[in-house]
Amino acid sequence: MTEQGTGASGPHKELLTSVERFGLLVIDEKQDRVPVFPFITSHAAQVLGVPLREYVTDGATMARAQLVAQDRYGHDFISIFSEVGIVAEALGSEFEFPEHDLPMLRRPKWSELVEPDSRVVDPSKDGRLHVYLEAIRYAYEARGDRVPVLVYIPAPFTTAQHLVGTETFLLGLMLDPDRVHRLLQYATESVIAFSRAVINAGGLPMLVDPLASGSVISPDQYQGFALPYEREVIDYWHRYDLDVILHICGDTAGIIEAMPETHADLISVDRVDLGDVVSKVGRKVRIVGNFDTSEIWLSEPEAIERETERMVMENRDCPMGFVASTGCEVPLATPAENVAAFVRAAQRAGSNPDYGRRRK
């Protein structure tokens, strides 16, 4: 493996590496600039020019694509992620793998809400968990001293839906809540088992729970069925003192005040008013957000720069800290100059000219 390029330094040389910058953020210290975190996931496959099927089934390819993309854009995290069904697949749900699209759920493990078996995933063998582990090790060996290797782990709530299918699961919330809880507990054990292997390989886990979004369930259902299991996983990660990002896509306006109860250290939001989020929970947690993913895909670079700058200027002084990110994954076909415009603008607007100046 060759030593990779300048990495965190990106197109121009910066004082801090991404690891150093993130390290300062999580101990409540000012950074040289706001960390910049577009969710560059499968878009990296396009940067490297490999089919998606290869990207999601071959760890070395995933890592190489991530490293090349990080070299090109100079953002602050490597993202190891295929899709949110990864743990459900390892537990027995079937997925298909189109050559040029992300894996899709073909058949859930169970077609109805049953009593779960006692299985817990074996990360070295089951499904494609090894693909993640291989990608983490590769990226970590290449760049782990400078850029955090962030691994998107699907939360138990999202995993459970991929075990029985969305419709069955959502009906179950109302008809058989006890059984749903047992299924969630079952999913939690495997999510934790997988994350243990991720941590041991050098990956920093981030919890993603897209199906717990306000666009899918009610705030009460979130509090009753999603949050407790998010917290269980996060508490486990806190045994390792990891600084945890919790990401929930879509509309989270109704649950934003409950989200810190998961014990997450950073909360990442999508289609909500960022100012509102900052004012409601910005004193308790660090905020990660939320450039519109359709905009980054479809707008012109100049407009993206303008909008990014506005977003960063408005939120960079968020009390506990701010990370400039996209609301969700950067769409696959996003033009490279758009991503570059976002990163460039966020770095510029988020820079802290007082960093390192002597304090009087």
Binding site: V19, G23, I27, Y240, L242, H263
Partner: protein, 483 residues
């Protein structure tokens, strides 16, 4: 899992992966029991406490310390605590500043000035010098590149990493005062200190004098004294000079802290430092004598005498914990290395901890060390005026006398623990080390008739170079045949 109940498994050195499995079994409430800056923590409300530190190597690996994946570790709870505490120091120093403590960089003298600084309430001393192992632990050029940009490149000792850390402002808070020792100290590091001057609000320079051997000192007319602990001979005139320097430090610290320190507070400071040094002595005795703790953990213990990893209250607790573990093991005759392991004294073991692990993997163990920090291991004389006690401990410093004197402690250890060989490793670029090694080897051969292995430590890497492994292997083969 029963809350809070923990029994160490039988003593063993284990891998990174094995620690992950062991860590699963440690009860969470046990992890929450230990905190740095303990007293400040109690005043916080509701929020997740930030001062826990009981975390496994995995935590620090994720935040960039890649080398940790390749080491072996002691498998006790006390060792977990040790690693977590030591690795947590960057965070701790920033928290110190956030709590309103004043962070002071002490540099170059390795052990003396922090005794004075830590006697003041609200002041925290640390050594930027200790950053020197980060390039090894991270397997990274990040800090060395930053130092090179400021003018210190490959030709200098790895301690240049400290300059990179100053420039980045991300490894410790910018010190509000730096107390830099120079004179008889490492030449390369004096260079680092000069370049680092721009990053501290103020620098107070302290001159460390050469400890004249009374034997050939023409102006001290045969007067001689010996240090309280190691009985190192010194010239009283030199001691008086250093006391004057420390008086200057004291005046500056009082002005800086806006606080007049009492004689009693200084005496307490000496006592606190002594507690750490005594614990370290006991641990060395058990580890090097009975083989109950691995060499890497002992390296961290010894370096703790320098500035107590920025927490004068918690560090001795960590040591007590280790000592209890070591004593239990000694009583049960448990060891982390084979009973018949080859016994080796190591002079200036490398900053790369992998070397110490390798030696143990090959069936040898360390029974003595000389890290150029003798002064910080020296017990202070509590009956002397405090500044004099500190100055006297510095008279035993490794770097302030002749090579022959430096070697004396290694020879003493080699005899005490019946060493079968001595390793002398020099630091590539370290100006004194590179030239001193051969001399050290000669003195040792003359005094002890033990085989000596010398080599220079190469820059950081994922593994030890084959050439150096061959040397260590051949050396151990040689020791085995001598038995």
């Amino acid at each position: 899992m029963i809350a809070g109940v923990w029994q160490d498994p039988p003593a063993q050195r284990i891998t990174f992966d094995e620690w992950a499995r062991l860590f699963e079994r440690v009860p969470t409430d046990l992890l929450d029991r230990y905190h740095y800056y303990r007293r400040d923590q109690e005043e916080r409300d509701g929020l997740r406490p930030w001062s826990a530190y009981m975390f496994p190597p995995q935590t620090f690996a994720i935040y960039g310390c890649r080398h940790l994946m390749r080491l072996k570790y002691d498998n006790s709870l006390a060792a977990l605590r040790l690693w977590g505490f030591v690795q947590n120091e960057t965070e701790r120093l920033f928290r110190a500043r956030q709590l309103g403590r004043k962070v002071i960089a002490t540099m170059g003298d390795l052990g003396a000035v922090p005794v004075i600084v830590n006697s003041f309430p609200g002041l925290v001393a640390f050594y930027p010098d200790c950053i020197w192992w980060m390039p090894f632990v991270m397997e990274s050029n990040v800090l060395l590149d930053a130092a090179a940009e400021l003018g210190i490149g490959d030709a200098a000792c790895f301690s240049r990493a400290a300059l990179g850390a100053f420039a980045k402002h991300a490894y410790f808070p910018d010190p509000e005062l730096a107390i830099a020792s120079t004179g008889v100290s490492c030449d390369d590091f004096s260079g680092v200190e000069q370049l680092a001057e721009r990053f501290a609000t103020e620098v107070l320079w302290v001159e460390s004098p050469m400890r004249r051997e009374t034997l050939n000192c023409y102006h001290c007319a045969g007067a001689k004294e010996r240090t309280f602990d190691s009985q190192t001979e010194y010239d009283p005139g030199t001691l008086r000079f250093l006391v004057k320097e420390y008086e200057r430090v004291l005046v500056r610290l009082e002005r800086f802290a806006g606080y007049t320190i009492t004689e009693q507070e200084l005496r307490n400071g000496v006592r606190k430092a002594n507690r750490v040094r005594r614990l370290t002595k006991l641990l060395r005795e058990l580890a090097y004598g009975d083989g109950v703790l691995p060499a890497v953990e002992m390296m961290m213990v010894e370096f703790g005498c320098l500035h107590h990893y920025s927490d004068i209250d918690e560090w001795p607790e960590v040591l007590e914990h280790l000592l209890a573990t070591a004593e239990t093991r000694a009583a049960r005759r448990e060891r982390v290395v084979a009973e018949d392991a080859l016994r080796v004294v190591w002079i200036t073991p490398p900053a790369d901890p992998l070397f110490l692990c390798y030696l143990e993997d090959q069936g040898a163990r360390v029974v003595g060390t000389e890290y150029v920090i003798n002064q910080s291991l020296e017990i202070l004389d509590e009956n002397k005026p405090p500044l004099e006690a500190v100055a006297e401990s510095f008279m035993a410093a490794s770097l302030t006398g002749s090579t022959r004197q430096r070697v004396a402690s290694a020879i003493h250890q080699a005899r005490r623990y019946d060493a079968e060989g001595v390793i002398v490793s020099g630091i590539l670029g370290g100006s004194h080390c590179a030239m001193e090694s051969r001399l050290i080897a000669e003195y040792i051969k003359a005094e002890l008739d033990l085989p000596v292995l010398e080599f220079d430590v190469p820059p950081h890497g994922k593994e030890i170079s084959r050439q150096i492994r061959t040397r260590i292997d051949a050396f151990l083969e040689m020791l085995t045949e001598r038995r």
